[in-house]
């Protein structure tokens, strides 16, 4: 059975605030003056972005995905759970994916509680992904990057104990001490919602996900690096007695569909470049606070000459990240290729990007659902089609 037989489409939104502060080569993170936030603009943006995701639910996307970033124009979602709550109230069938609050930035029992609430409120539609959090988060959340990875592991232990061991229980850790760990409510799904771990290339994150049998996703890294991590993930998972399958890995892509390839490029190219050069961009300093990255990994990166603050060109972008701008046939072909390449049947698609206006996002979300998804479904193997 090919991965194409079980494709699931996750519609994700970064919910940016695109009125960036000009003249900042260090990007729009950490110490941007927050007086630049205009609440009326913000109100309009939340409405449009939520409408775009709700449209996804109506059009039959399998899942809607939101995440969390702090103190940045990159994202209007410093609380993943708040947005997820707003989505649950307005959606019926799509899974709601909190991909997600960096667990180290909050008390783990609170995340256990919040996610349980979301799962119960939605009738069991929640999926969770746990990132370490970008380096930028550690400047604005008073938390030490030097032991963040140890804290992450312990936080996950607390969360899993909270969800799976009948409470109240004790937890005596390095970072957290509970005499009564007793979350109420508990998740709707048993034993708990599906869990992924999100990394950006660090071997320890890959190993952790594989060891625990969680799913894995990798962001902000070139495709080639991702595929290496996926290999490592699968072989480690097997060593620990798990059976990774096409649902264990989630990949992501930035597609834009239009009537012709030229139109797609004309409508979307600049917004995608805007995302990379104006929103994602940050400084090495902010991206890599002390202790956040192991020293040998930093050395490799410095020797390779990779810098956070360099401007990215369209050619570079399209050759290392999953971007496709074209007709439904072209977009479907690329997506099928990427899914098979990664052996993943779950793909996150960013159909609003950068400073894209609402109408383009709506067009893209609609065309993707009505033209691209059916083409991909038609690629299912003949046996499965016969069974339908």
């Amino acid at each position: 059975m090919s991965v194409l037989d079980r494709l699931q489409f996750y519609l994700m939104h970064f919910m940016p605030y695109p009125d960036v502060v000009p003249g900042r080569p260090q990007g729009q993170w950490v110490d941007i003056p927050n007086t630049h936030f205009d609440p009326e603009k913000g109100h309009k943006l939340y409405k449009e972005y939520l409408d775009e995701l709700v449209l996804g639910d109506e059009l039959g996307y399998d899942a809607l995905v939101v995440n969390e970033h702090h103190s940045t124009f990159y994202s209007l979602m410093p609380s993943c759970s708040v947005i997820a709550g707003a989505l649950i109230a307005r959606t019926r069938q799509a899974r709601i994916c909190v991909f997600g609050t960096p667990i180290t930035l909050t008390y783990p029992h609170r995340l256990a509680e919040e996610y349980a609430m979301l799962d119960v409120m939605s009738g069991g539609r929640l999926e969770c992904a746990f990132p370490l959090g970008t380096g930028m988060e550690y400047w604005v959340n008073p938390l030490n990057p030097t032991n963040a990875r140890e804290r992450f592991r312990e936080s996950m232990d607390v969360l899993m104990q909270a969800w799976t061991k009948p409470g109240p229980t004790r937890f005596d850790g390095e970072f957290y001490h509970y005499k009564y760990l007793n979350p109420f409510p508990l998740p709707y799904q048993k034993p708990h919602p599906k869990i992924y771990v999100v990394g950006s290339g660090g071997e320890d994150t890959v190993q952790y996900a594989a060891e625990k049998g969680y799913g894995y996703s990798q962001v902000f890294t070139p495709i080639a690096a991702q595929l290496k991590s996926f290999e490592s993930y699968r072989s480690t998972a097997v060593k620990h007695g798990h059976t990774p399958d096409s649902e264990s890995i989630i990949i992501s892509a930035i597609p834009y569909v239009a009537e012709t390839e030229a139109k797609a490029i004309e409508e979307a190219r600049d917004h995608i470049l805007f995302y990379f050069n104006n929103l994602l961009r940050t400084s090495d300093q902010m991206n890599t606070p002390p202790g956040y990255m192991p020293v040998d990994r930093l050395r490799k990166r410095l020797e390779a000459g990779v810098f956070q603050s360099s401007e990215i060109t369209w050619e570079a972008l399209t050759s290392v990240y999953r971007t496709v701008l074209g007709t439904p046939d072209q977009v479907a072909e690329r997506i099928a290729f990427w899914c098979e390449q990664a052996q993943s049947s779950r793909i996150i698609v960013h159909l609003h990007t950068g400073d894209m206006p609402h109408w383009k996002a709506v067009k893209n979300i609609t065309l993707f659902a009505e033209e691209v998804i059916p083409r991909l479904r038609r690629k299912m193997s003949p046996e499965l089609k016969a069974a339908e």
Binding site: P142, N147, P289, V295
Partner: protein, 260 residues
Amino acid sequence: MTHFQKSDRVVDRVRVQVLETGKGKPLVYFHGAGASGGFDELLPLAEQHRLIVPIHPGFGGSDDDLTINSVLDYVVHYAALFDALKLHEPVDLVGHSLGGWIASLFAIFQGHRVHRLALACPAGLRVPEHPGADLFMIPLEKLPSTLAASPTVLAKMTQGEVTVDIKVARYREMTSLARIIWERSYDPKLDRWLKRVSAPTLILWGEQDKILPVQQARRWADRLESGAEIATFDGVGHLVFLESPDAVKRVAFFLNGGGL
């Protein structure tokens, strides 16, 4: 007394490097959060002392100790190192910046080991009206001019290429520093504890210090309560001894019993 002798010691299973030179009563110097530049500016102190410069775990030529996650952990480390160095009589203790913070806590909790105390722009006191700079946020290319006010020192610091090795070494030292001060770069308890220091104390400060403002000197003197002297140096930034041979002389004078 033209150069330091380097030796290694193992303290609580951590290998640390110790620089020594000179003969006489021991003078121990606790350095700040960067140990790659050497300490030749201190050599005049070795004219009348056995000058000992131990390198903190996590810095310079010492190994890392990943179990150290507070400034007090360094105090405990140094109590053990003093025993290993057989420093059984009270020593003169000089601390710069982070080293000044460690030295002040050492003088509180290991006061019997300290004869006289000199603190050069010490870190660690909570002074919200004159807060310190965020060392972690200063980009590498702006670091020299933020640290030093002296043009000659600045010129020396900006010579030469910034290699990958230098960047990695700096990242490693900043990680050791972050381990102990990321969440909070001062200890509110020092306000409460400093009065326990009984050693005569000299406070030195560069008037153009951009890392820790010179206005903090007064707060140190107030909290110490034992009548600490303050000596400030015009045209001098955070790297007090590197920028000012006069500051080094002032310490020598003070340790010899000279004062106001």
